[in-house]
């Protein structure tokens, strides 16, 4: 890695994200004293056969940037970027990269009690940006034989073993360690190295753990993740996982050894990059935020709530490789319910599965696009349920659950994420950033997260949050400037009361919007209605929402709420569909309502919505 210039002397920066499907290059430059996004380039990721070298995809993406700008970045000898900047249109000062290619970091988690150590260990793994393949615990209802079969079959990149409070019994955690020893799982990438195991359990078992696992595995011992029943200490395990990820997993993914020599600072997992920026956003504004990064293979959900930060990665929930799994998990009916036109189950499945087998293709027709938006809503909903499952209060004893429960709805009272107190929802990832109309991204986010009360929505402009996240580790000020100016797109605000009226058309709330001392707008929001009000970027207004007895804006049913709404490229959306959002069961009625909502949101071209309405 080259020596870093002082922040003020940097002129041009190249950042790439090597995603599971595409590699995205972002080229930034200082223009008239201000940092700007100059160009973007994309190419398929080349982690797989026949290429098996991620740097080919990186070079292809950067070639697009070169074509668009005429700025020469790539070295002729194929050995990386021209650094430092040479003057004119040649060279760059900094090159950084994130990556989620090769399926990211895939981990297996083992803990003694499912709802305690195993859950804390799962949080640590997810927090490090890992995909958790399975969680094994002494009380998970599976026999030891089954556990051994799982350990052998899954071929993880890494294992996290935890269990027992310090000073407590060591038997159970040693039993898990023995299982691991008998199974001797093999790493996924590369046969030649020892599988990394992080031990974050009862400290009294350490010497026995070393005896059992020390020779067979690359064992790292860190502080106990649950030193006491009521204390959770995730950081040491999380850091060890990140360290081992760089050492082992990245080193064995094809081409990373080369790429890691090209970059100016360590390659960061994509979710870690995204989370860095979302956490920065929450901190700077002092707000509660939920974020989503929807990729091709996985969907990451982030939350920063009253100082508590949580990141989850839902493996197999994504818009390309994993699109078939969203269909499987959500079911055909749940995807169909968002489509404003008639389509047979067979045709819908064909569209979705054809995308799965040709993951880099993009929709060419509006119908195909609407199908992808429908799948995205369901995918984010599933991933958010997974997130809420872990966003719960620490408890010593909990109701028993199984791992298959994580995609089920988590009752509102179980999660600490109070949707009324979420100030912002932030979206990033290919599908959301590339939505042809920002209105589509806003609608997908509203339908998937179902915010309550008054919530602002923000979007990553062209997918650069991971890029800025890794950049912020060396040049925080440049990263922040770009984040504000080029990355964040303010979509607007959604005002959504909780509750349901007995019939559609009944009053949800009387709304007053106060734009200025003499400028007011009043209307009644009806049940089953969406009303969008234009309020430009940077503009603000006061709203008074007087809900009917069936609805609640956060202060109780029927209680009025006054607040501020901010404008954006979409505007202010008054969502009278109620919470939890329930769509009409009858297909014809449902499609009619969808057309009304989509018209109100200007989601797709008007003439096409008319066509769908008639069909």
């Amino acid at each position: 890695m080259s020596k870093l210039l002082p922040e003020s002397e940097v002129r041009y920066i190249l950042a790439t994200d090597v995603g599971s499907t595409t590699t995205k290059a972002r080229f930034f430059g200082k223009v008239n004293g201000e940092w700007r996004l100059i160009a973007t380039g994309e190419a398929p990721t080349t982690v797989e056969k026949p290429f098996e070298d991620v740097t080919i995809g990186v070079r292809n993406a950067v070639t697009e940037v070169e074509e668009l700008t005429g700025h020469k970045i790539l070295r002729d000898d194929g050995q990386g970027m021209i650094m430092p900047y040479q003057g004119g249109k040649v060279g760059i000062d900094v090159y950084v990269s994130t990556s989620s290619a090769g399926g990211g970091l895939q981990m297996l988690v083992m803990g003694v009690v499912k709802t305690m150590t195993a859950e804390s260990a799962q949080k640590a793994a997810l927090g490090a940006g890992a995909i958790v393949m399975d969680v094994l615990s002494v009380d998970d209802g599976r026999s030891n034989y089954e556990k051994i079969q799982i350990l052998r079959f899954l071929r993880p990149d890494m294992i996290l073993l935890a269990g027992g409070v310090d000073g407590g019994t060591v038997t159970h955690v040693l039993e898990l360690a023995e299982l691991l020893r008998f199974a001797q799982p093999k790493p996924r990438l590369g046969k030649a190295y020892k599988l990394p195991v992080v031990y974050a359990g009862n400290k009294d078992a350490r010497s026995k753990i070393k005896e059992l696992l020390g020779e067979i595995f690359d064992l790292r011992i860190v502080d106990n993740i649950r030193p006491k029943l009521e204390v959770e200490r995730i950081e040491p395990a999380r850091n060890a996982i990140l360290e081992l990820f760089m050492e082992h997993v990245m080193a064995h993914a094809p081409g990373y050894d080369k790429l890691s020599k090209w970059v100016s600072t360590s390659i960061m997992p994509t979710p870690a990059g995204e989370f860095t920026m979302i956490a920065t956003f929450a901190k700077l504004r002092g707000v509660n935020v939920i974020g989503v990064g929807m990729g091709g293979a996985t969907t990451n959900i982030y939350s920063v709530f009253e100082g508590r930060a949580l990141r989850t990665v839902s493996a197999n929930i994504g818009m390309s490789y994993s699109i078939g799994n969203i269909l499987k998990e959500a079911g055909v009916e749940n995807i169909k319910r968002w489509l404003p036109f008639e389509i047979s189950d067979k045709d819908l499945k064909n569209i979705i599965y054809n995308k799965m087998i040709r993951p880099t293709t993009i929709p060419m027709t509006l119908e195909d696009l609407a199908v992808e938006h429908a799948v995205a809503r369901e995918g984010i909903r599933l991933a958010f349920n997974h997130h809420k499952f872990l966003a719960r209060e620490l408890k010593g004893v909990k109701r028993e659950r199984t791992i298959s429960d994580i995609f089920e709805e988590v009752p509102a009272e179980e999660t600490y994420l109070d949707m009324f107190r979420i100030h912002y929802i932030v979206g990033t990832g290919g599908l959301l950033s590339r939505a042809p109309r920002r209105n589509q991204a806003m609608m997908v986010l509203i339908d998937a997260f179902q915010p309550k009360g008054i919530t602002r929505l923000v979007q990553d402009s062209v997918f650069m949050m991971p890029h800025l996240g890794v950049l912020s580790t060396i040049y925080p000020n440049i990263a922040l400037e770009l984040f504000e100016k080029e990355c964040l797109v303010y979509l607007g605000t959604v005002v959504a009361p909780e509750g349901r009226a007995p019939d559609y058309g009944e009053t949800v709330a009387d709304i007053t919007i106060i734009y200025g001392p003499k400028e007011e707008e009043r209307f009644t929001l009806r049940f089953g209605e969406i009303r969008r009000v234009s309020l430009g970027l940077g503009k603000k207004a006061r709203v008074i929402v007087k809900p009917s007895k069936y609805f609640n804006m956060g202060r109780g049913y029927g209680k009025a709420v006054e607040g501020e709404v901010s404008g954006g490229v979409v505007g202010v959306v008054f969502d009278g569909r109620g919470r939890p959002l329930k769509l009409p069961e009858d297909p014809a009625t449902r499609r009619k309502m969808l057309i009304q909502w989509y018209k109100a949101m200007a989601l797709y071209p008007e003439e096409r919505l008319e066509e769908w309405a008639k069909s």
Binding site: K349, I357, D368, P436
Partner: protein, 383 residues
């Protein structure tokens, strides 16, 4: 003014469909074992090239709990030592007290041997005897190289058709084309007893009933343009979430060359099957789209006199570069399956029907129409 690039890369590496190439297959054991062939050997489809013994499954016996002992006391009461063979029901450990008045015994739940006795948990691990696993040659050809303890690389000149999605594992049989046109649907009436042991080639679609019939007559494989996912899921009895296949427990291997739905098989592929009808081929449905792309395939080994390809061809990596004149195939609705030549590669992003600004390619289709499609939605035809 629209600017054009001289060349660009396709986003999807094209599927390989070629009448003559050199196919190399690494045939490796999942763990170390014995290699049974030598470099230069001629092998047939079913020749066993390597064999290993996989460790038997372990069964944990909670001896301390069963005898009411502390874990570290267990070794003292063991009747069997580590490494000893045991039969099901044989005594593993025995505890006597009060001159034999109290007697407790723990018996082995399986046939096997004692693998481990733990003083930390008081558990004893009994393992089943190792089981042999074999790796076959899969294709007819020559052993190019052996890899000590792991297996061998087999090579042969061959016609090679890569599919897009498949089900079930490796099999072999004679090619039998059951349709007369590549857009014809493979229905049960076209499958007869004569297809027993054969790879049945269909056109645009295989119906559920036709798959059932093929299984009934004992066909080993079906190669076809498309199938409905609904039908495949009905066949398997469970939904497919992630495209990782190859181990489905069905007695037939299915390879789709185009995708899901009714989709005419590409002319290239269909012509290859017509040409080599009656020849023996290897078929595999294994598909893994993520991390290490494995596509399903049909390999028809050929003599050098018919196909003069040698090893150097197999080494070539196709980069999928597009230039004006390059032959491409569109791989997404509404032009799915259409073939054409690249006319131009505009540099600037252009808006398509979805209003999305994307990198595009201008293609002249075989019927003379010129269409603009996202670069992401074409594959370069290779081979």
């Amino acid at each position: 003014m629209v600017r054009y690039a001289k060349r660009g890369h396709a986003y999807t590496p094209g599927l390989k469909v070629t009448a003559c190439t050199y196919v190399k297959k690494e045939r490796l054991l999942p763990l170390h074992g014995e290699v049974l062939v030598r470099e230069g050997d001629e092998v047939d489809f079913n020749t066993v090239v390597a064999r290993a013994y996989i460790e038997g499954s372990p069964v944990i016996v909670k001896v301390a709990e069963m005898l009411g002992l502390e874990p570290d006391e267990v070794p003292r009461y063991m009747v069997k030592k580590v490494g000893d063979k045991v039969r099901k029901g044989e005594v593993l450990a025995s505890f006597r007290a009060f001159f034999g008045l109290i007697k407790k015994e723990v018996r082995s739940p399986i046939d096997g041997y004692i693998d481990y006795i733990s003083e930390s948990t008081g558990h004893v691990v009994v393992k089943e005897e190792p089981k042999p696993i074999e790796v076959k040659a899969y294709i007819k050809g020559r052993v190019l190289k052996t890899i000590p303890k792991e297996g061998a690389i087999i090579g042969t000149p061959a016609a090679f058709v890569q599919g897009i999605f498949g089900l079930s594992g490796e099999r072999n049989g004679e090619i039998a084309v059951a349709v007369s046109r590549r857009d014809e649907v493979l229905t049960p009436d076209k499958i007869t007893e004569e297809h027993h042991g054969k790879i049945v080639v269909g056109g645009s679609l295989v119906t559920y009933e036709a798959i059932e019939k093929a299984i009934k007559v004992g066909a080993v494989g079906i190669v076809v343009g498309g199938a409905y996912m609904d039908d495949l899921e009905k066949l398997l009895g469970y939904p497919i979430g992630v495209a990782i296949t190859g181990r489905e427990p069905i007695s037939i291997t299915i390879v789709l060359t185009e995708g899901f739905g009714k989709m005419s098989m590409s002319k290239r592929a269909f012509d290859i099957f017509l040409k080599y009808e009656g020849r023996k081929a290897a078929i595999s449905g294994a598909t893994q789209i993520r991390a290490g792309v494995i596509r399903p395939e049909v390999v028809i080994p050929l003599d050098r006199s018919e196909c003069p390809a040698d090893e150097s061809i197999a080494e070539k990596v196709e980069e999928g570069i597009m230039e004006p004149g390059t032959l491409v195939r569109i791989i997404r609705f509404p032009y799915f399956g259409m073939i054409g030549r690249v006319v131009s590669l505009p540099i600037e992003l252009m808006k398509i029907e979805t209003e999305s600004p994307v990198r595009v390619v201008e293609v002249e289709l075989e019927d003379g129409r010129r269409v603009i499609v996202p670069r992401a939605n074409v594959e370069v035809l290779t081979g």
